[in-house]
């Protein structure tokens, strides 16, 4: 067994950890909520440790191979239309998925801590939660189209129940809309996958083989141009691509805290990740042809989300629209097709993941006690919940793009990349970042500051577990904001190897 293969088992272990946790929980009696929590906490910590290992151990620089920590097990081959290597359980990471795995580890663990105070059907909640996390890991690690799609669906499906059962505020509507829109996107992806496998004629779902086919012309340009939109729209729904974003505000509004955290924190990134994996890497000709269109939609999303967030009155709607805006930046970064822009986009995926998770953690901490999320009901909360205000302020300032916090780092790279080819759109994006300051500060001044409303005098500050969860997220935000070289090294290394990259 080579070293790389050994590391491949680390990747497999990371993928299996949530699925094992899920299986163990199946056999825990439903009334032993403490056991459920301990098991979940333990596996969450294991996942975080493994994810950190994967991120740190990823090699970059001269001589490092582009896909590392590979593991290939044959699944089905040489039958029907499948040839050699037909479908494999093929796992591996590159710099992009290493960063995403780290994000998943951080957010999933933080979400576990936040959900530990959940009291209604705790066991069922965590079973679904781990299924979702397993799906997310699987999508990031999969290098086989079949398993990519399998895990992608595994990540989306539990959301319906998680929101429908544990949610709030029009939860049935939110859950239904979210699931239907995402599934409609999946249909497009599925059609695209079959078309690609058929067109390439290799009889395999192996992604590296198909990427090569996309670059050497086996997939002819007309085909690529025709099917690129399938992937971009299909994945784009999950990445809140305008105008397919409306599930985001409603879905976030309905979802329970931990689900919002994982959903906005990680799941939305699957969409952008899919655009890289299926769009840019597999259909580079199509990408080159359609990217100006994605740039337009991304910019509309960035500005539109920020403008709409200005006058919202519900915390979660503000964050929902701000997610639309920030994911708009991600799409803009991807659409630049140059290495700085796409590196920035991946960094923004990480940055948005941790800061949005923190925002939803804070909203949950308040909503659980206050049972309202209307801004106008609050005022002067700094008096009773100082720690909560500090944490929320840091998250908000990261949203605004304050230097020293992750948002600035990521956005700056995206802006530089965008200005290279699309100065006008870059200008609009910078303007939207200023609007972010307006909607965040508006919320701060209404809720945190000003005269204290005595109605809230018995609100409690953050619990120790919430503090721990928040501190983990803030740590990630600050590290990326101050010292971003570890991220740029790994992400940039892989982005440079994407086809048709302009450096």
């Amino acid at each position: 067994m080579t070293f790389d293969e050994g590391q491949g088992y680390v990747v497999l272990a990371t993928l299996l950890a949530p699925l094992v946790a899920m299986t163990i929980l199946l056999f825990v009696p439903g009334d032993r909520k403490d056991v459920v929590r301990y098991v979940s906490g333990f596996f969450g910590a294991v996942m975080l440790a493994l994810s950190i290992y994967i991120f740190v151990a990823f090699q970059f620089g001269d001589g490092a191979s582009s896909i590392q920590m590979q593991l290939r097990w044959d699944w089905i081959e040489n039958t029907a239309f499948l040839g050699e290597d037909g479908i494999q359980l093929y796992l591996g990471v590159d710099g992009i998925s290493a960063a995403m795995a780290l994000l998943t580890g951080i957010v999933a663990f933080a979400g576990t801590l936040a959900a530990s105070k959940l009291d209604y059907r705790t066991k069922d909640f965590f079973i679904l939660y781990w299924a979702l996390v397993g799906g997310v890991y699987g999508t990031f690690f999969a290098l086989d189209l079949f398993f990519f799609f399998f895990f992608y669906e595994l990540a989306v499906m539990p959301l319906y129940l998680l929101i429908g059962v544990w949610g709030s505020t029009r939860k049935e509507y939110g859950a239904m809309k979210l699931t239907l829109m995402l599934v409609a996107g999946s249909v497009l992806i599925w059609v695209g996958i079959f078309a690609t496998v058929h067109e390439a004629g290799l009889g395999t779902f192996n992604m590296p083989a198909l990427w090569a086919a996309g670059q050497d012309g086996t997939l002819d340009p007309t085909f690529q141009k025709t099917f690129f939109p399938f992937f971009v729209i299909g994945c784009g729904v999950l990445a809140a691509l305008w105008p397919f974003h409306t599930w985001s505000p409603d879905g976030h509004m309905s979802a329970p805290t931990a689900v919002s955290m994982v959903h906005a924190g990680v799941l939305m990134k699957l969409g952008a990740f899919g655009i890289i994996r299926l769009g840019i890497q597999m259909l580079p000709e199509g990408a080159e042809f359609w990217m100006p269109g994605l740039m337009v939609l991304g910019t509309i999303g960035a500005v539109y989300g920020a403008v709409a967030a200005l006058t919202q009155r519900d915390f979660k709607l503000i964050s929902g629209y701000s997610s639309v805006s920030h994911m708009g930046y991600v799409l803009m970064g991807l659409a630049t097709m140059n290495s700085i822009g796409i590196t920035g986009a991946v960094m923004q995926m990480f940055s948005h993941g941790v800061m949005t998770a923190l925002v939803f953690l804070m909203i949950g901490a308040l909503y659980d006690q206050a049972h309202t999320r209307d801004l106008k009901d609050f005022g002067g909360l700094g008096k009773v919940m100082p720690m909560w205000v500090v944490f929320y302020t840091i998250a908000g300032l990261a949203n605004v793009g304050l230097p020293g916090l992750s948002g600035f780092t990521a956005e700056f790279h995206i802006f530089v990349g965008t200005f290279k080819t699309y100065p006008l759109f870059g200008g609009l994006a910078v303007f939207a970042a200023a609007l972010a300051a307006a909607y965040m500060l508006r919320m701060f001044s209404i809720v945190f500051f000003g005269p204290f409303n005595p109605r809230w005098s018995d609100l409690k500050d953050l619990t120790p577990l919430e503090r721990m969860s928040g501190a983990l997220l803030i740590g990630s935000i600050v590290i990326m904001g101050v010292w971003w070289a570890p991220f740029v090294d790994r992400i940039g290394f892989s982005v440079e190897q994407l086809p048709r990259m302009v450096s």
Partner: protein, 640 residues
Amino acid sequence: MGAEQAYLLAAVPAGMFLVLALFGRYMPRGGDFLGVLAIGTSFVLFFFVLVDFLDFYNFEEHHVAITKTIEWARIGPPGGGWDLRFGTYVDPMTIVMFGVITSVALMVNIFSIGYMKNEPRYWWFFAVLQLFAASMLMLVMADNLLLLLISWELVGVCSFLLIGFYWEKRSATEAAKKAFITTRTGDVGLMIGIILLYREAGTFNIQEIIHMAEAGEIGGTSLFVTMAFLFLGAMGKSAQVPFHVWLPDAMEGPTPVSALIHAATMVVAGVYLTARMLPVYAEADGMLLIITLVGLTTALVTGFIAITQTDIKKVLAYSTVGQLGFMFVALGTGHPTAAMFHLMTHAFFKALLFLGSGSVIHATHHHQEMDDLGGLWKKMPITGTTFLIGCVALSGLAPLAGFWSKDEIFAETLDKWGWTVIPLGIAAIFTAFYSTRLFIRTFMGQPRNKHVYEHTHESNALMTGPLLFLAALALVSGFFVFDGVAEAIGFPGGIGAFVFSHEPHHFGLGDIDWPLAAASTGMSIVGIFFGAWLYWGNRLAKSTRIAEAQPGVYQLLKNKFYFDELYQWFIDKAVLGFSFLTSWFDRYVVNDTGVDGSAQLTGYTGSVLKYIQTGRLPNYAMGIALGVLTLALAGLAVRG
């Protein structure tokens, strides 16, 4: 340690910020002594840097800056693609800024121990002061625009936190929000400018950009557009018209903060940036004129507004904006010397004035309306005397600091844009006028509010000490302009030659332009005379008559030319209106029509199609028969 370790100046307070932010609340006295210790360390380190730098400095041999850089982040091969290096750049301009920032910050920290005593969140105040000092020092030593932008935003957020320090007060929160969003609007320009410069020059390094501009490698219309964007950032931070509205409101913050951030250091960041990039501005045709016009407009507008304000801090705030306008006018000549000199002297006397007003506010238990004050000189001799020194320096009366720097500005602009002297002179007269009014109405004549007057007492030594120190600087810092004085304290060739190595500029007693100096003094005397004539003894009869004779003008000035109302109207109607429209569109068009509509259409189609499934056998049999027939016909048609 030497100038290569200049980063320590910022690192010490930055580390102290972390200590105080995490543990300050558990410390005795909120850790204020640690704050003073950290800033004091920076102040001492400044002298080490200065000495080391003076050893190294030699203009003739082009030893003009000590730099140190490290690699920060890189994509692709070294030197190619995206290779980001961060570093420090210490040259005379940085040295001047170091001196101003560390000395004023130290004085403000000491003053705050007295002023902020018994305030809630005392420890937090000192923690943020450390963060501010660290960011501001980093700003002036950054060797590249990205690091500068990072520090620039950090000082902005410190300003936000400190303006909103009394966050229970709605007005403080609103002022903090206004300051942050207004400067942030300017920062949109700054960020676009920096990225456009990168696009043109391929680097963020300031010196490389300057070399390219001087060599003519970048230029033309695109450079003009770029520099115009960059200048927007400077205007926002330095509160130039039309971005000036946030600074007077920022007076909601504790007074030491006004002295440090909103008079001496942060607000001059725009002047500093423009001075730093001035060789590039000079290559962008037309930008110098724009800078002059912006500065001139600001100096005039705020000078007019200041004469009708009755809150002593507001008067000082408008005065600060006006003096920043003077600095921009000076920069418009293309030579940074006069602007940087005025920046330095202004930092000392304006910090003095703000701390003096803080001493008054503290002593009178938070009365800062002139209508409640008057005659305080007798009660507060040290504060009164030092305040007088500050006012005279601000008026530009010889031989105090303000005179020398203002005189330099006049001399420089007379060379470059002769016509500006008249509006600039008017602004100078107004400056002298409102300074006089401020002093007389606060410290002279009969007290207007007996109750306040009787409870007033001189502040303690922690507060008067910094006043005396700054007053001394306000008295003497102007003399640095003489080569002899500067050389005596160790600056080779005088401060003009030292600070601006690009343009050696010698100045001695023999070089004084006597007619100009006389004219400049004359303007100050005119302003002071009118101020004294109208308000002598804190009597308002004459000024009230004037206000009543011209009610329109008075209201226009009193309401600050209605800038705030105009902006509020724009935000309410245009920005928020647009936001409502977008939300409505998102709800009703995209969501309810597009998304829900397609779901409803599916449901409707289903409800129509369900009638096909009648459940009656004859209907199905008929369907089968028709189907068979259709297929048969189709088969016939195809097969022929």
